[in-house]
């Protein structure tokens, strides 16, 4: 299996039909996963809310996603006046395409034989595969920023800015949670990371990294509890307010594919990829060969997707400043501290410090840090006592806005809608068909 040109064994030597076939299979898999996860989400959330969920289109409502897609395709494509046409049309495409590309390096299984060719069940593998996923995630942010800006609406712009600010904040913490995994695996290539998890999964070994990754997964994909930029009550629809028909569908497609990609990345990096869970391998030695690992992989991905949906059904939405505070002030320092701790322990064990000395030193350091932070907290907040019976400062001016309640500017001339005449078009008044 040495055939390679770039240093990753077993890749780079597929015949053209196999390359095309793998790309097509990944594409179809993603579209099916999106349709299925839409159905699962609506049914599961329905059950969590003690109702049934869609059950009309097809058996058990399975064709609901398809029906929604066809409905969106047949809707009128509304383009507001004054938008930047090129960017408006480009944004959904820029949002959707990187989401698809991220999946090319996800390992579905080990080497199998397809029509006589030995090949890995993976599109391709790069020595820097995980960096590809991060780069594509950064490209996806573009779609949101451009969509928000080109819609000519201040709410879209604000929604787009907020959404992208949230995504870039959580991308830092997410990238940091991978560092410990790379330290253990010795490589950034997904197949080698999966191979390194033969004996113990990194999610168990590096539990804080795993937990941080789970939290940042939510923030990165704009899902509840972190979906304020999309909250309907807040900014209408956020960055996709002005989009309709299949352009809107592209954004949702991108969001669900992002979900699948993040779940697949979690599976690959933390849950052992396509390895069977340990209890199974002890009784059935063949669980990790042939096509069976695809089953374990799918089970793990769907476990994550179900977890996403479960959180959506259970948690309230987090306020935006709390969200940013969590990303910048909590997750990032903890990630950095954990990375340094892991590095120190590995260096110490490599340099021959024995375990008891290590535990003693490590314990002392952690105790000092904890006591120090408690003490600092006590000292820093002792000076600021809040008097609970003091009257809050009242606004005295007569202006309505100073009562604290948001009031739109009252002295602006009201727009009564005179647009440049588009001569040859007849206006259809709303309400008639």
């Amino acid at each position: 299996m040495k055939c390679t040109t770039e240093g990753i064994a077993g890749f780079g030597c597929d015949p053209w039909w196999l390359i095309g076939g793998k790309a097509l299979v990944i594409f179809v898999f993603l579209v099916l996963t999106v349709l299925l996860s839409m159905w699962v989400e609506r049914r599961v959330i329905g059950r969590m809310q003690l109702r049934i969920g869609p059950n009309r289109c097809g058996p058990f409502g399975l064709l609901q996603g398809l029906a929604d897609g066809v409905k969106l395709a047949l809707k009128e494509d509304i383009v507001p006046a004054g938008v930047d046409k090129v960017v408006f049309w480009l944004a959904p495409v820029v949002s959707a395409v990187p989401a698809f590309i991220s999946f090319i390096i996800i390992p579905f299984g080990p080497t199998v034989s397809i029509f006589g060719h030995q090949t890995q069940l993976q599109g391709t593998d790069l020595p820097v595969a995980v960096l590809l996923v991060l780069a594509m995630s950064s490209m996806g942010i573009y779609g949101i920023v451009l969509a928000g800006w080109s819609s000519m609406s201040p709410y879209s712009l604000l929604g787009g800015l907020r959404s992208s600010a949230q995504m870039i904040s959580y991308e830092i913490a997410m990238s940091l949670s991978f560092v410990a995994v790379f330290m253990f695996a010795g490589s950034m290539s997904t197949s080698q990371i999966v191979a390194g998890q033969q004996h113990i999964w990194y999610g168990v070994l590096l539990l804080p990294s795993f937990l941080i990754y789970i939290i940042t997964m939510m923030g990165e994909s704009n899902r509840i509890p972190f979906d304020l930029p999309e909250g309907e009550g807040e900014l209408v629809g956020g960055f996709h307010t002005e989009y309709s028909s299949l352009k809107f569908a592209m954004f949702f497609l991108a969001e669900y594919i992002n979900l699948a990609t993040l779940s697949a990345l979690a599976t690959t990096l933390f849950l052992g990829g396509w390895h069977a869970p340990p209890p199974i391998t002890t009784i059935w030695a063949g669980a990790n060969s042939g096509w069976w690992p695809v089953l374990w992989f799918l089970i793990k991905i769907w476990a994550f997707i179900f977890f996403f949906i479960w959180l959506r059904g259970s948690l309230p939405r987090v306020r935006y400043d709390q969200l940013m505070k969590l990303g910048w002030k909590v997750l990032m320092p903890i990630s950095l501290g954990w990375i340094l701790l892991v590095a120190t322990i590995r260096t110490a064990s490599r340099e021959g410090l024995n375990q008891t000395q290590l535990l003693i030193y490590g314990g002392i350091t952690i105790a000092v840090v904890l006591v120090g932070s408690f003490a600092w907290d006590l000292v820093a907040t002792s000076g600021r006592q809040v008097d609970p019976y003091a009257e809050p400062e009242r606004a005295t001016a007569a202006e309505p806005a100073q009562g604290g309640f948001p009031v739109p500017p009252l002295d602006l001339p009201h727009y009564h809608g005179v647009l440049p005449e588009t001569a040859a078009r007849k206006e259809v008044s709303s309400g008639t068909h």
Partner: protein, 120 residues
């Protein structure tokens, strides 16, 4: 370079699908022109007029993007370090990265104290 061919193939496939969908969506829908559809949506009321150029937006978004760049650069140094970590001998590899992270943490503490991480 052969490792990148599947990426290009999938990219072309995805681009074709997305482009085709967007164009088809535009073609396969009714076109009933209504003046209200041309304006920005503001929950049904007529949109509040905005100042020229979109008005002023808070500067904290810019600061967040700036912070993102600097910490992203730190992360891309952490990646080769983590991957090559097992090949370092002695404590040197750890100490140099601790110095690097300490310097960036000084900057982080400065930003924290100056309120750059507050989001009101």
């Amino acid at each position: 370079m052969d490792l990148y061919i599947p990426i290009i193939v999938l990219g072309v496939l995805a681009f074709g699908f997305a482009g085709f969908s967007v164009v088809m969506g535009a073609l396969s829908g009714p076109k009933r022109w209504n003046k209200a559809k041309l304006e920005a949506y503001e929950c049904g009321i007529e949109p509040t007029p905005q100042p020229v150029g979109g008005g002023r937006f808070p500067v904290k978004y810019y600061l967040t993007a700036m912070l993102f760049i600097v910490f992203d650069i730190e992360i891309i140094f952490l990646y080769p370090w983590a991957v090559a970590f097992n090949r370092f001998a002695g404590w040197f590899g750890l100490i140099e990265m601790v110095l690097f992270i300490a310097t960036v943490l000084v900057a982080y503490a400065y930003i924290w104290r100056r309120g750059g991480l507050e989001w009101d």
